[in-house]
Homo-oligomer: 208 residues x 2
Amino acid sequence: MVTSRSAATARPRTVVPRRRGAVLERAILDATLEQLSTVGWNGLTMEGVAAGAQTGKAAVYRRWPSKEDLVADALAAGLPPLDDAPDLGGIREDLYELTRLVRNAMYSRPGWALRAVLHECDNSASERFQALIMSGVIEPSVNLFGDVVHRGISRGDVRPDATGSLIFDVIPAVLMYRSKVRGSEWPDEEIADLIDQVMLPMLRSRSG
Amino acid sequence: MVTSRSAATARPRTVVPRRRGAVLERAILDATLEQLSTVGWNGLTMEGVAAGAQTGKAAVYRRWPSKEDLVADALAAGLPPLDDAPDLGGIREDLYELTRLVRNAMYSRPGWALRAVLHECDNSASERFQALIMSGVIEPSVNLFGDVVHRGISRGDVRPDATGSLIFDVIPAVLMYRSKVRGSEWPDEEIADLIDQVMLPMLRSRSG
């Protein structure tokens, strides 16, 4: 029986320097996102990813036992981080800037790929990718909106009782809803309207 | 070749009076919802629906050429109507009551069945059922929220500039988001919190 190794050694591997550890992993994850954007979830194969990363299939399988594991890691690693709340001196500016960061994460290449995967994959995989949206975008966003609002309360431009959990869900909810239901991709002007029509009236202090 | 008619005539059909037109259609649509709730989208067959409605398969196919057409009509006909905005004399009461009506539609038997179908069906059918959520629940809800807010403006308990389209999306967006992301089934107390924490601060007039 011919092993895949004999086929691999036939390739001109000398042009790619031998990479290990984090460097090789990064190349495999990048190739995974590239494959997702060209052939989609259904077309993606471990072989195709290995070829794209100019490595062998075994190097991929050694780290990720299944396509689902590989794609989940590639998407999680690729999403822009949502670690720090903007601190620009006013609630309007902070909310506007933070909403832009969240919009940018939603419409980053991994963000698009994640929605496409959810559309294509079967129900057992979809729970895992839904959980990734939760841990990679929604939870960090809600936490940062909480930070921004609490800072506004301390500063005095947000009413002191604006601390209910529903308040911190409004922006993520409207972002998701209008993306899904109205097909919006949230240009900056629409973000400004959301802050001015909805968030500032809801949050402003009576004196503000 | 044995036709299905010969099998049908073997059944004790005399116990079911011959129904026509709207009565028979109603029985078929009811049987469809019943089948959805017991065997789901994948298990549902035209034969099973016909048996449930105590009629022949031909009576079903004559009206609905495919399972998708039949299920779409059954869901559309079964959803509670969202025709009239409550008019209880105040913005708080109107919003609370209207949100309860929308929640009741979401969690009606056809509402549950619609979400289950979306989870099970393939992508080509899912666009049609997404459109049904849009035309059967979301659009009528947004229109009624618009009616309630405009009446509040006339009455003076809503600020006169609360007319931006984003405002009318907040309740549908938060209902959808917390149902999907937080698994909420929206008990009445959570609806009251949504009105009190989010909607009234956002809408109230400066003098109100």
